[in-house]
């Protein structure tokens, strides 16, 4: 049975969206499961420290991760009218549809205020913490040791891929190269 405390950290839907088991996901860093195009794009548009620079304002952004679990063909069907760039773009779509998934996110900085300070260290949230909208400037002024700033991240699938030159990953990205070299079954 799942309990609230675990679920807040990464809910069951995360397994499907991030294409990995919850236990594996909890060892990951969001920016390390993104493709390099996305990391570069986010840093360019949101700054080097993407979450650290948040000041209580929620931010919306899209990103693309490695994912081979495409259970339906919705994306490719929806992208069919996009035959604008002809062969070149088709090649991008092929790579995207085989190995990648674009996600939309809404992120907000919040403060986790643990009623029992010892739980901050363990983060075993069996009970007893409160959540408040955060502000990093205010946070630094707080003296209580049982407050921790964290990012609340709401994510869903994008219907269409972000516009990147995915075909380049076939040549330069080790993960895609490795997958491409596997024989077709």
């Amino acid at each position: 049975m799942f309990f609230f405390n675990t679920l807040v950290m990464a809910d069951r839907m995360a397994e499907s969206l991030y294409d990995m088991k919850q236990s594996d996901l909890l060892k990951q860093n969001l920016f390390e499961i993104m493709i390099p195009f996305s990391v570069h794009h986010l840093k360019k548009t949101m700054g080097e420290s993407i979450f650290s620079s948040m000041d209580g304002q929620a931010k919306n952004f899209s990103f693309t991760i490695y994912s081979q679990k495409k259970s339906d063909m919705t994306l490719s069907v929806k992208c069919e009218p996009m035959k604008i760039q002809e062969e070149e773009y088709d090649e991008d779509l092929i790579i995207y549809n085989k190995y990648l998934q674009s996600l939309s996110a809404k992120a907000a900085l919040i403060d986790l205020n643990f009623e029992r300070p010892e739980e901050l260290k363990k983060f075993e949230l069996s009970y007893g913490f409160t959540v408040n909208l955060g502000n990093s400037a205010l946070l630094s002024a707080k003296t209580s040791s049982n407050i921790k700033p964290v990012i609340l991240l709401l994510v869903r699938k994008n219907q269409l891929p972000q516009k990147f030159k995915y075909s380049l990953m076939k040549i330069h990205d080790p993960i895609i190269k490795k997958n491409e070299s596997k024989p077709n079954i």
């Binding site: 679920l7 990464a10 009218p81």
Partner: protein, 191 residues
């Protein structure tokens, strides 16, 4: 077909599309799909052909951008807009005013947030509501620390659904979302 004639036909079609964009309401919204496809067909990749139509394309783009990104319910498109991203990607390649290109780029950065989410200031209000829901559940947990009364993901999702999608009709809302907590460096569980 003679080039000048083709341009005039395209001009007429783009003006007609602009009228439709301005007049779309929840009652006649179904006409939008056809119009969008028709716009896509008429936005030629040939820049020389589109050059004399810059004003028409700009007017159309501005109207579309405004109706998608506005927060005013009376102006906002009643539903997510099919093909709009493709239309914007095409017009972005044309020589439009920089301010319009900036608007397009901003929209294309997080297009789905305009369909399924809200803008930043609305997000804060929404998050406050969501966190109030957390708070109320958590206070119950504090009062009664038996694990079997802790809310499950079902309870949480139901609460968030009602907050997140209350302005959408059923069928439009993509309920496949995930809620996680990360540290400020992006780690999923290292606190």
């Amino acid at each position: 077909m003679e080039k000048s004639l083709l341009i005039e036909l395209l001009r007429s079609d783009l003006k007609h599309a602009l009228t439709i964009i301005k007049e779309v309401t929840s009652q006649n919204y179904s006409s939008w799909n056809q119009v969008a496809e028709s716009i896509l067909q008429r936005l030629q990749p040939n820049k020389n052909l589109m050059m004399p139509l810059t004003k028409e394309v700009e007017d159309l783009t501005i109207a579309l951008l405004m109706r998608i990104t506005t927060k005013l319910p009376s102006i906002r498109f009643p539903e997510p807009v099919p093909h709009v991203k493709e239309i914007f990607k095409r017009v972005r390649e044309l020589s439009l005013s920089p301010i319009i290109i900036d608007g397009i780029n901003e929209f294309l950065l997080t297009p789905d947030s305009h369909f399924y989410g809200r803008k930043v200031d609305e997000d804060i209000a929404l998050l406050k509501q969501q966190l109030d829901v957390f708070q109320s559940y958590l206070s119950k947990c504090s009062d009664n620390q038996k694990k079997d009364v802790c809310p499950t993901i079902i309870h949480l999702e139901n609460s968030l659904d009602s907050l997140e999608f209350d302005n959408m009709t059923s069928g439009q809302a993509d309920r496949e979302y995930s809620l996680c907590i990360l540290d400020v460096n992006g780690n999923f569980s290292k606190f």
